[in-house]
């Protein structure tokens, strides 16, 4: 139970810290940004952290709790280490950074936390992370990491469920519910929409209470009577619920545990809330009041009650809307400064051209704001906030190529739509599961259900492997064309197969330098392949369940993966363990994307929320709700300001990252949207779907319309304009081919890919 309580109050401390962190960063950027990175790398390590500065009593309690937990989980070694470290507080500060993630994030090494201020901050961050870890361990106990839980999920589950054991007369449940319904129907219109939000969580909890207390008949009757009243977008959850009629089944049901462990969040205006409260207290309707108290989190705001439309646009996720505080943290959505092209700077890598704005446009802008003195976009993170790999010579060459291409780029707009070129996978026999293009569009890779990954060259240049070691030793290493000589002409072919996975490949991603390919699979591994030798280099094992998606950072080196175990993991290619674990989603993570500045990661989930995570400290900085189905694709706008997301409901939603708001809804697709991509300049958003269409949307207009409005950022109440049809620039059919990937070439030609689906 304790864990659960922690879980529910967890966001508060987290937010507190975040604001502090951001203050700190603003005030003393170098220090703080250097100081925070070593925190919270791996879960196991994170739990050791609080020891660092466990001086006050709460810290001590946390520590004890962790120790107990470790003991219970029979992780004696960890326990002993922790104990020892707790005793030797002073030694930890120095060894920590290098021992944990510090090595991985080598750039931050120079600024270890030394001042008392920073270390206490550090400890609190770590503490929050630790509680978050343990709290989040409850919903999916066996899954977070094997280290943390080690198989004692049963007790936790029982604790969770026991909250339902309170008795009430089952016969009265429908009476209570319909009483409340009558009341809400009778209130003023302006309050009704808001109060109606209560129905769904209340309905579910009442039903579960009935089931838990084994009033099967009553539960069924209750369900039949009232489930028709619920909003249609909950029907998937309702279907699961309807199948659940036994107490025994509740134990294994994850959806249900999620519902129970996370408080359902409702945003209600103060007036409406008072109304509800008064009503319930007058009627002495304790049953409902208890549920509201215990299982719901009502986020009260002052001001006008929201309209039905406003509420509907934001609701639909598994656990209600996001709390307002959850989206308050500052996000550095700006882009990192680009290096001079002819004289590339050494301190950063500039790879992902698709992420940067149009260079021609951006350059002058930067100059005008005086970027010469290294000053940059105020919204951009510090260049060294995340250590990035150094630029290699080949990268510089590629950059120059890219700049050349960019000068020939087509300017897109509503008047000049991109040409679309479609890559059709023939004879894929329903087996194509993932596609990726390299940034320069020279290679295509496909992941298949038969566990293979295939790479095709789509230029006349064939794919060649490197010669064997024996042959390589014969090569004259000083010759000018050594890079050409190491290639084995005999292996040249149009495509290469990569074998290694033992389950369908669900996600693939090229590294920005085209030397590597990542693939993730049902076999719970992520594999790194070399495109020089066409062999597997590393198998990253960490996930315990199928991995649904993976993606390289736009700067290479890091990558993110997310899967059925509900956590996203951040990896570096040279570490076999994850650097960060992002935990908080209530259902599978279905897609993962890096922010163009590589400092943030967005994850979409089957719990119908999108979360944005800070790579630096592992915090969740944004929670976006509003989708009515599992989210299957995400795309950042090239300027880093906006995020687009597509879901099984066929809608594409647009989000403003800085303000944490939904700013647009694009309706048109009739099936799951599997691919989203902004044009290189961010003027067009292309979406591809299972319904065999590619649609182009006017992104500029969508964002401008919003930006000219004054943001109601404080309340977060937005009324979405019904302008999908105006924004739709074109809808293009494929030939019986679901679109599963989209890509803009450097010259803004739109490439689509999919398997011909007989």
């Amino acid at each position: 139970m304790a864990a659960v309580q922690d879980g529910s109050i967890e966001p508060e401390p987290e937010n507190e810290i975040k604001t502090e962190t951001s203050n700190e960063v603003l005030g003393n950027p170098g220090d703080a940004s250097g100081g925070v990175p070593p925190t919270a790398p791996v879960a196991a390590v994170a739990t050791e952290k609080p020891a660092a500065a466990a001086t006050d009593s709460t810290e001590r309690q946390t520590l004890l709790a962790v120790l107990q937990f470790l003991k219970k989980s029979k992780l004696f070694e960890s326990e002993e280490i922790l104990r020892r470290e707790a005793g030797l507080l002073n030694e930890i500060g120095d060894s920590q950074g290098s021992g944990a993630g510090g090595a991985a994030l080598g750039g931050g090494g120079g600024a270890e936390p030394e001042s008392g201020d920073a270390s206490s901050l550090l400890s609190r961050v770590a503490g929050a992370v630790a509680t978050a870890q343990s709290a989040n361990a409850t919903p999916a106990p066996a899954k977070v990491t094997p280290v943390v839980t080690g198989g004692d999920d049963q007790p936790d589950v029982n604790v969770v469920l026991a909250a339902y054991s309170q008795q009430g007369d089952p016969v009265l449940y429908p009476v209570y519910y319909s009483g409340l319904k009558r009341f809400i129907d009778s209130v003023l219109d302006c309050h009704r929409a808001e109060l109606s939000q209560v129905f769904y969580p209340l309905f579910v909890h009442m039903y579960l209470e009935l089931v838990y207390n084994q009033y099967e008949k009553e539960a069924k009757a209750f369900f039949d009577k009232f489930h028709g009243d619920q909003e249609c977008y909950y029907k998937d959850d309702l279907r699961i619920l309807s199948g659940l009629t036994k107490k025994e089944h509740m134990k294994g049901n994850e959806t249900l545990l999620d519902f129970r462990t996370s408080k359902f969040v409702l945003r209600i205006s103060r007036d409406s809330y008072q109304l509800l409260k008064r009503h319930l207290q007058e009627r002495q309707n304790n049953q409902i009041w208890n549920i509201i108290q215990e299982h719901l989190y009502i986020d009260i705001f002052d001001g006008m009650p929201r309209s039905k439309g406003q509420i509907d646009s934001m609701s639909g996720s598994l656990a209600g809307e996001a709390k307002r505080e959850a989206n308050k943290a500052k996000v550095f959505y700006g882009l990192l400064k680009e290096p001079e092209i002819e004289v590339p700077l050494d301190d950063e890598d500039e790879e992902a051209e698709n992420e940067e704005g149009k260079p021609k446009k951006k350059k002058p802008k930067k100059d005008s704001t005086g970027s010469k003195s290294k000053k940059q976009d105020p919204n951009a993170p510090q260049q060294s906030r995340i250590p990035l790999p150094e630029l290699k010579d080949s990268d510089k060459l590629d950059k120059i190529m890219n700049m050349k291409e960019a000068t020939k780029r087509v300017r897109l707009g509503p008047e000049s739509l991109p040409s679309i070129c479609f890559y059709t996978f023939l004879n894929a026999y329903q087996g194509l599961t993932a596609v990726d293009f390299t940034d320069d569009s020279s290679l295509v890779a496909g992941g298949f259900a038969d566990s293979t990954v295939r790479v095709w060259s789509v230029t006349p240049k064939k794919l060649r492997g490197v010669k064997t070691a024996g042959d390589l030793s014969l090569i004259d290493k000083d010759s000018d064309d050594v890079l050409e000589r190491i290639m084995d002409e005999k292996t040249a072919s149009e495509s290469k197969n990569l074998y290694g996975h033992s389950g369908p490949v669900y996600g693939i991603s090229f590294s920005p330098d085209r030397n590597y390919l990542l693939s993730c699979s049902e076999d719970a591994t992520v594999r790194l392949w070399s495109l020089q030798t066409f062999t597997c280099l590393v198998g990253y094992k960490g996930h315990n369940y199928p991995v649904w998606d993976t993606q390289f950072s736009p700067y290479g080196y890091y990558f993110i993966s997310g899967g059925h175990d509900r956590v996203a993991r951040l990896w570096a290619t040279d570490h076999y363990q994850p650097l960060r674990i992002f935990s908080g989603h209530l259902a599978d993570i279905t897609c993962t994307r890096f922010h163009p500045n590589s400092n943030y990661v967005a994850t979409g989930s089957a719990d119908r929320t999108i979360r944005l995570w800070d790579v630096l400290n592992g915090n969740c900085v944004r929670i976006f709700t509003g989708h009515k189905g599992p989210i299957h694709c995400l795309a950042f706008s090239p300027n880093g300001k906006f995020l687009a997301s597509g879901a099984t409901d066929g809608r594409v939603l647009l989000w403003d990252i800085g303000h944490g708001l939904m700013i647009g809804e694009l309706k048109g697709h009739t099936d799951t949207v599997y691919a989203l991509k902004f044009s290189r300049d961010g003027e067009i958003l292309a979406s591809g779907s299972m319904d065999n269409t590619v649609r182009l949307w006017d992104a500029t207009k969508a964002f401008d319309d919003i930006e000219t409005d004054d943001f109601t950022a404080a309340t977060g109440h937005i009324t979405l304009p019904e302008n999908s049809q105006e924004l739709l620039l074109g809808s293009y059919m494929t030939k019986s081919t679901p679109v599963i990937h989209l890509h803009f070439t450097r010259r803004n030609l739109l490439l689509g890919a999919g398997a011909y689906n007989p």
């Binding site: 039949d224 489930h227 028709g228 699961i240 309807s242 199948g243 659940l244 036994k246 294994g252 049901n253 000049s416 739509l417 991109p418 040409s419 679309i420 070129c421 479609f422 890559y423 059709t424 996978f425 023939l426 004879n427 894929a428 026999y429 329903q430 087996g431 194509l432 599961t433 993932a434 496909g446 298949f448 259900a449 295939r454 789509v458 495509s495 389950g503 369908p504 669900y506 049902e522 369940y545 199928p546 649904w548 279905t590 089957a606 599992p630 099984t648 599997y674 299972m690 182009l696 620039l729 074109g730 293009y732 494929t734 030939k735 019986s736 599963i740 689509g752 890919a753 011909y756 007989p758």
Partner: protein
Amino acid sequence: MADREERKFAEVPRDSVKLMAESVGVELSDDIAAMLAEDVCYRLREAAQNSSQFMRHAKRRRLTVEDFNRALRWSNVEAVCGYGSQDALPFRPLKEGELYFVEDREINLVELALATNIPKGCAETMVRVQVSYLDGKGNVEPQGAVPTAVQSLTDDLLKYYQQVTRAILGEDQQLMKVALQDLQTNSKIAALLPYFVHVVSGVKSVSHDLEQLSRLLHMVKSLVQNPFLYLGSYIKSLVSSVMYCILEPLAASINPLNDHWTLRDYAALLLSHIFWAHGDLVGGLYHQILLSLQKVLSGSFKKLPLGFCFLTSLCVPLQAVERVLFPHLSAYWSNLQAVLDDDSVSNAQVKADGHKVYGAILVAVEKLLKMKAQSRSVPVEGSVAVRERSFPGLSPPQEPVSEPGFGIASHLLQGAAGVPAEEPVPVPLPVMYRELYAFFGDSLAVRFSTGPGIEPRASRAAPPQPPDSKKEGMGPDTTRKMPQLTASMTISPRQDSSPRNEPSLPAVQNSSAAPSRFQRSSSSSLQRSKPPPSKAAQRSAGPTREVFQKSRFPLPPAAAPFSFLIAGRQTGRRCQGRRFQTSFPQLHPPNPSAQPPRGYAHKLPVIGRMGKPVKRWVCSQYSLHLPL
């Protein structure tokens, strides 16, 4: 609301659980079985839920056995092996006792291993690129468009394409068969589909050459039947080619020696097959076709005969027959009558055509009546009022898609004067029968081949009918078999009760040994790729335990009467029947069972007549049956 809330998931009955327990030697009490059954249901739903996730991530629409097994494996349940086959597994009842099982044939692995016909491997996955939309403006290549030139094909494919087209359109029959066979089974020709479609679309240029036309149709058939091809939007092009063969006044038909009817019949059959097999792709087209049919109907006779053969072959639109043909019939009838009655030499050709049309209408009308009868027999048990107003089994509520089409139809209808059954309200069965009988007379009644067993009951619902000497003459055992159509559909309730006593053999023999002109006119139904009639009859006649059959064919219990079946000739007052009807009774010997159906049919007035009946039939049968 209430029915919407019906829970829509599978339930495992406790009996099944008990049975399974028994099979492993465990006795279960009722309570435990019930609990287990409920748990099994829940787990099943859970697994299904989880498996859908694998489907979504594989970016598919179809849930596969594989997905389900993955879900099982991840929840630590043993995967269920052996269900990955592409073919559906037959689910059969056991004759004795209420037991159902999945037929699981044993496969001789040795035979398989030593087999010489090694299955072809799958074609290599490949990536092909094409610029679909230039500057976002329109289609470079519109949907389902066919390329005009063969290009961007690999050498192998190109060679294949050339060889096959040459073989099919060439002189060598044997070669053609081989090519068609390959076209039908080859799994690697998806890329060639547009080109073949293009070839087929050349029908218009060879409308003078029946031989070439039929070859092209064969090609269409092969393409349609190839399980590896997804026709998608190309189906429209194919259908329009086939329609051309059916509807257009082909140049070849000018010459009376040309047997263009065979071609049209075949094309109609093919069209019907396309509708059956790819109905989802051609939804809109169907209504277009109905519309054009309607135009034909309301137009003059000159254009008309062509439409009808294919009407009959489309057995889908029985309700369409009711709505389109039936109201127009009387208006059209006068035209037809005039043609058929004109004995002048110059009219001979047209007259022959007229007979074919006549036969086609007859078949269509019969089907309609039968369907009505079947659907009707359900509500009979309930209230009488319902039965008069609606025909529940007839069709889903008239789908809105069709409305535009029929909107025009009703407009056309208003032009036709004196059509009795113009209102769209379904006509009560007896009324309809009477009207139709007025047109067709005995040839209609005869085709229903009802035994006297149900006659008494029939008189209950139908208006009083004078005793018919012909009917009385029939023997008590209703073995008199009419050509296939009769065999397929009119099973009297009495027969239902003992289906297994009636051997299916006679029916087969009859249908195959009856080279009647009826058969010619209704040959479409024979050739259709549906189960042979006798089989269908047996199946629909199955006893009640065959749940699936029962639900699909709501057969009446033994007591339900076929009220319409026997109608007297006097009912045809409004309009004189065809003249040759009168000859019917004479054709009937007192004991029809002694009369072989063949002879009987042979002496029927010429309907859908060919030049030289028997021999010609064989010939045309051959052409229809070209082994594809």
